[in-house]
Amino acid sequence: MLEIESLATSYGAVQALRSVDLSIEEGSITAVLGANGAGKTTLLRTITGLVRATAGRVLFRGREITGLAPEDVVRQGLAHVPEGRGVIAELTVEENLRLGALWRRDTAGLKADLAAMYGLFPPLAQRRAKRTETLSGGERQMLAIGRALMSRPTLLLLDEPSLGLAPRITAQIMGLLRERRNETGLTVLLVEQNARSALSVADRGVVLNLGRVVADEAAAVLAADANLRHAYLGF
């Protein structure tokens, strides 16, 4: 579904990604792990076209998307929930949700999807007309994910969804991702600092260090590898 071939990105003289190869299977949940500065966020931002790749390419469902603008990438069926969620504080909950699907032509489907999101996230339904400043961290993450799902993506990229959330809320979000995958076949690429909770939901774990893939294993294997855990994952 997503093929990343010797992808490299740099910020000036700093090489953030050095020849990353990664292949994501349809319907899988993949966790990308690693310390701060390992290149996790850069990887997602390069896939979506927010950062330009200096080498290599990205294929999504067989089509090359390297160099495409983010607004065109999302039209291919790839949604990206950024670090810090990217909920727009000045807009209401409903406006944020609608924004996720504005480029779609089927307005009828949009209405149905809006209702579906409120079904999926009841706390959002109660606050649909409220500005998002009034939302808690967990509700904001729900809104960010709901907004991404509004574009009916086949691949969802999530950057640190657990950031700043209580463990119980994080577990809820992870559970929701697994449920979406099982019910709709959604493919998920998840970047996490919180390796333990990410591996609890993922099928596969990829560890990045200084812009390189240093491990790419089944999640259970990765979680059982004491050396790797101590060296890169901190648990």
Binding site: L50, A69, E71, I88, A89, L102, S151
Partner: protein, 291 residues
């Protein structure tokens, strides 16, 4: 008392033209965070285009339509051709570009039409309404200024609040990167913002130009509009309207009760006072934002 009423009515009328320029500045500030110092020059060019079209067609309204149309086109062209080049550059670059553009546009107007005054017609009767046997200082032309500016502002507010285009424009203004990730073509919304502002600015020019048009005719309009936008907080459309109205009244009283030579100095004085007392304006949001 009669004098007070007349000054008030005069202030309301010029206040709405000021409000229109302020609104155009707010539209641009909200979409691209650029203070468009060329707004007065753009309105000037549109007024001259109206002058030429009216001269050739004999119809005031053909000229009016040409002015609004060219304002929209001019706004879009300037955003695409100039402002995009200074995007993501230090804010001073945009300031210098728009200031330079202002001087250029005034210069072009002077080169083509000369620096002398050209007579410029009204769309409506400019003789005040009769109340009893007295004429008040408020004419159908003033009524047109009030109604057209309120109408345009209302349409803009409704579009921003209730339509998909408006939602895109707000999202692009508040969080351009997030908007792009959600599929909003941010470049287009910025062009649209400038085009809209160009049209509103042209309307302000058409309301202010009569009875005479010269290359400097709209300078005071721009200074007042700028002051009004700052009073209103720069990012609030309603603030721009209220600011324009307050300023129009203040300047009308000052020129009526003190001396008309004070108008432009007073506008600057009020601008400084507002910036000292309430830098974010009456309706402005705090500069600190929760993320």
């Amino acid at each position: 008392m009669e004098r007070f009423v007349d000054l008030t009515l005069g202030g309301v009328s010029s206040g709405f033209a000021t409000a229109a320029i302020a609104l155009s500045l707010v539209l641009i500030w909200r979409s691209t965070h650029v203070l468009n110092f060329a707004q007065g020059g753009m309105a000037l060019i549109c007024a001259y285009i109206a002058f030429t079209v009216t001269q050739h067609s004999g119809s005031y309204w053909a000229g009016f339509a040409a002015a609004i149309g060219s304002g929209i086109v001019l706004g879009a062209i300037i955003e695409r051709g100039l402002i995009r080049l200074v995007e993501n550059k230090p804010p001073l670059n945009a300031v210098i570009v728009t200031l330079g553009l202002f001087i250029l546009l005034e210069g072009i107007a002077g080169m083509i039409y000369g620096v002398g005054q050209r007579s410029f017609g009204y769309g409506f009767d400019f003789h005040g309404y009769k109340i009893g046997s007295n004429r008040v200082a408020f004419a159908p032309a003033d009524m047109f200024a009030v109604v057209s500016v309120i109408g345009v502002a209302a349409v803009i507010l409704l579009v921003f609040r209730y339509t998909a285009v408006g939602l895109r424009m707000r999202a692009a203004a508040f969080a351009p990167e997030v908007a792009r990730m959600l599929g909003v073509r941010v470049g287009r919304t910025l062009t649209l913002g400038w085009a809209l502002a160009g049209g509103v600015g042209a309307l302000a020019g058409m309301l202010t130009a009569p009875p005479f048009l010269s290359p400097n005719a709209l300078d005071l309009l721009f200074i007042s509009g700028f002051t009004a936008a700052v009073i209103g907080g720069l990012d609030s459309a309603i603030g721009a309207i209220v600011g324009g109205l307050l300023l129009g009244l203040a300047l009308s009283y000052i020129s009526g009760y003190v001396t008309s030579n004070l108008s432009s100095i007073s506008a600057f004085g009020i601008l400084v006072a507002v910036l000292l007392v309430r830098p974010s304006g009456l309706f402005g949001h705090d500069t600190t934002r929760r993320v």
